[in-house]
Structures are given as structure tokens and as C-alpha cells.
């Protein structure tokens, strides 16, 4: 397991040294979600109705934006070749990279989401559910985006292609995420969609590293 922690530590340290790059998706999330209340009607009911959807779509787009560089820098400086040729399992290394990236980009997003939710007049008692749903959903988004990033890392401009590849796959996360938040806003128990989000996270986190590793091996040729 020490290879996992070394990889995690390396990527976190790199993120600290280039924090402005990693802060961009988070700032994007904040700006998109706070622009909507200005554009929409200021009525509480209208904002509340649109709010959950806006928050989730902004979270989705910002996590896609964040993942473009996940493998690209390693590919450009030759580190990826060394990771592939090392005795460590590439799937495990990719998993560590996804975890590091989620800690840097996903976790702050979850922490800041309640503040933005208040600008949509979401009731305070729904915020724990919103955060918990994001906690289950963002790892899935990171894992899916990692597959897209791995598939496009050999291309000159993979950024837009990642969106086209990955966005259709994120539909279930969006559906269950907004559903869970909506139910909480209306004071209902959101356990059903939360279970499904959890299942999606377990499924994608266990398979995405392997799929990404295979895609990287193809891209490096």
C-alpha cells in the first residue's frame, strides 16, 4: 500500500505547488452557481426550483474541467512511461491519482456547496443531504472523467472530447443527485437516491482505474 500513499503524496504536493491551476475549477463552480440567481427571477419558489439542478450541473462541469490535466502533465514530462514500467500496478497508481485529485478538487466543492445553496434559498435542513449526495457523487464524476482523460491523453486537444465522451455517462449521477437534493428540499427522506449514488460510486471507483490504466497504455504507444 506504500506505493499508493507515495503516489497520493506526490500528487497532493504537486497540487500545493501549483494551487492556482487546481483552484480554477472550484472558482468556476462558484461563479457559475452564483450567476444564476442574478439571471433567474428573484422569487423564492423559482430559485428553489432551479437551484438544485444548477448546483448539480455546475458541479458536473467543474469536475470535468478539473480532470483534463490529470494525466497530461505526466504524459508530457515522461513520468507516465516510468509509472507504466514500474513494478507497481498502474491501476493502483491511477486510483491514487484519482483520490488525490478528488481531495484537491472534489472535497472543497462539497464544502462550499452549502454556501451557494443558500443563494438559491434551499432550506438549511436540506443542506446535509446535499453535501452527502455530493460526497457520494463527486468520486463517481472523478472516476468517469479519469477514463475520458486517459482515452484522450494522447491527443493534442483532448479537453472538449472528454466532455463529449463522459457527459452522457454522467446522466445517472445527475438524475439521482438532483432527486436526492429535491426530496430533501421537500422534507422527504432521500435515502433511495442516496443508496443508488453510493452504488454508482462503488461501481465506478472499482472499475474506472482499470479502464483508465488500459486506456493510458494504448495512448502511450
Amino acid at each position: 500500500m506504500s506505493v499508493f500513499t507515495s503516489m497520493l503524496e506526490r500528487d497532493l504536493r504537486l497540487a500545493m505547488r501549483r494551487w492556482s491551476e487546481f483552484a480554477t475549477p472550484l472558482i468556476f463552480f462558484v461563479i457559475i452557481s452564483s450567476l444564476f440567481p442574478f439571471a433567474l427571477s428573484p422569487e423564492v419558489a423559482a430559485l428553489r426550483a432551479a437551484g438544485t439542478g444548477v448546483l448539480w450541473i455546475a458541479a458536473l462541469l467543474s469536475s470535468l474541467l478539473a480532470l483534463d490535466g490529470l494525466f497530461r502533465t505526466d504524459m508530457d514530462d515522461g513520468s507516465m512511461e516510468q509509472l507504466i514500467l514500474s513494478p507497481a500496478s498502474l491501476g493502483l497508481l491511477v486510483f491514487a491519482k484519482i483520490c488525490a485529485h478528488w481531495l484537491v478538487s472534489g472535497l472543497p466543492l462539497i464544502l462550499i456547496a452549502p454556501v451557494l445553496a443558500l443563494s438559491f434559498y434551499l432550506p438549511p435542513e436540506s443542506l446535509p443531504t446535499l453535501m452527502f449526495a455530493l460526497l457520494l457523487a463527486t468520486p463517481t464524476l472523478s472516476a468517469l472523467a479519469a477514463i475520458g482523460a486517459a482515452l484522450t491523453v494522447g491527443l493534442r486537444s483532448g479537453g472538449t472530447l472528454i466532455g463529449l465522451l463522459v457527459l452522457p455517462l454522467t446522466a445517472p449521477v445527475l438524475i439521482f443527485g438532483t432527486r436526492a437534493t429535491d426530496m430533501a428540499v421537500h422534507g422527504e427522506s432521500a435515502l433511495g437516491p442516496l443508496y443508488l449514488l453510493g452504488a454508482l460510486a462503488a461501481f465506478s471507483l472499482s472499475l474506472a482505474p482499470l479502464a483508465s490504466a488500459a486506456a493510458i497504455r494504448v495512448s502511450v504507444e
Binding site: 504536493r13 505547488r17 515522461g78 512511461e81 516510468q82 514500474s86 513494478p87
Partner: protein
């Protein structure tokens, strides 16, 4: 230094194409434990592509490359890693210090190394705490070779290891190669300066 039991690198009838163009075909050689192969050839002859093929990073368009009777493309799939490859990219993270790069490389390979002694040998003792992006090209190459040195591998694949190195650095690479071959390891070196490694090569491949 302990003796390592290296296997034989068997290159059989290898053909390499890049895109539509065939670079060479019918390359055959066996590199036994303790032997060095020098790969030379003009720019564009396919030296780097050959080295990447030997490392298992890409498949030859025909023929096979195996190390110890296992196809190299299979070895590279993370089971064991007897092969260390140093391409023309350094494989260093520019935002990490030299020490951090060396430590990560060692952790990845489970290799043991005395970092300070290695840094002394490389002439990088003053640069250990500096980020790689502040180093010169030659110092980067030295750091990359240091990372490679920490890998407990029996077969070294070095693509232009002497680029950007001064005379002392080239001498260091030659000394490392000698020690590695002495221990029973083997190496394939692609270079434009074969004279700096003269008299060591058991096999010379001219593309």
C-alpha cells in the same frame, strides 16, 4: 554490490514501422547477462522507437522481443519489473525537488538507495532541495539518471543517456554501466557518441 541473475533479451526478426513508413526490418540479436548493446544510427533511423519497443511500451509491427522468455509487452504489465528505461524525456516532475523526485522513484520501485551518496556521485548535492525546473538541462539529465540508478532492474534501456552531460557526467554513466555489467546486468544504449562507451559493447546495432 550483489550479483544479479539477468536473463537474456531476445530480439527476433523485429520490424518497426512508424505510421505508414517502415523504418527497418529483420533485426535479430540476443543480449546475454553481462553484455552491452550499442544502438547507433542517423536521426530518424528509429533508435527511440526501437528502445520503446524493447521496453514494451509499444509492439513491433512484426517479430518479437522477449526478456527471460517472457514477451516484454507482458512484463511491462506490472507483474515484475526487471527492466529500467530512460527515454529522452526525463520523467521528472518539474515542481518537485530533486530529493522528492528521487524518493518517489525509489518508493515506486521498492528500491533502496543512499540518497546522499548518490547525490554526491551525481554532483547534485547542492541541488537536492531545489525544484527541478530551476536546474540546467545537464543537471536534469543527471537527476533522471539518478532515479534510474535507484531501480533494482537487471536490464537497462538508455536512450541517449549522454545528451547534455559534460565529460565527467559521461564518465559517470560509463562507470555505472561497467558496474552494472559486472554484476551480471545487461544494457542497451542508443547513442550518437559511441566512442564514449567504446570497448564495452558486445553487440553493435547500426540502424
Amino acid at each position: 554490490m550483489s550479483h544479479v541473475s539477468g536473463a537474456t533479451l531476445a530480439v527476433k526478426n523485429v520490424e518497426i514501422a512508424r505510421g505508414e513508413r517502415r523504418l527497418f526490418a529483420g533485426l535479430d540479436f540476443d543480449l546475454a547477462s553481462g553484455q552491452l548493446a550499442l544502438v547507433t544510427g542517423p536521426n530518424g533511423a528509429g533508435k527511440t522507437t526501437l528502445m520503446r519497443t524493447l521496453a514494451g511500451l509499444r509492439l513491433p509491427s512484426a517479430g518479437s522481443v522477449s526478456y527471460g522468455d517472457v514477451p516484454v509487452s507482458r512484463i511491462a504489465r506490472g507483474l515484475t519489473a526487471p527492466i529500467a528505461f530512460q527515454g529522452h524525456l526525463d520523467g521528472l516532475k518539474k515542481d518537485l525537488t530533486v530529493a522528492e523526485n528521487l524518493a518517489f522513484s525509489a518508493a515506486l520501485w521498492g528500491g533502496e538507495g543512499e540518497m546522499d551518496a548518490l547525490a554526491d556521485e551525481l554532483g547534485l548535492e547542492d541541488c537536492l532541495a531545489r525544484q527541478v525546473r530551476f536546474l540546467s538541462a545537464g543537471q536534469r539529465r543527471r537527476a533522471a539518471l539518478g532515479c534510474m540508478r535507484l531501480r533494482p532492474a537487471t536490464l537497462w534501456l538508455l536512450d541517449e543517456p549522454l545528451t547534455n552531460l559534460d565529460t565527467r557526467g559521461a564518465g559517470l554513466v560509463a562507470a555505472w554501466l561497467d558496474a552494472h555489467l559486472e554484476r551480471g546486468g545487461s544494457a542497451v544504449v542508443a547513442t550518437h557518441q559511441p566512442d564514449k562507451l567504446a570497448g564495452r559493447a558486445a553487440i553493435e546495432v547500426d540502424l
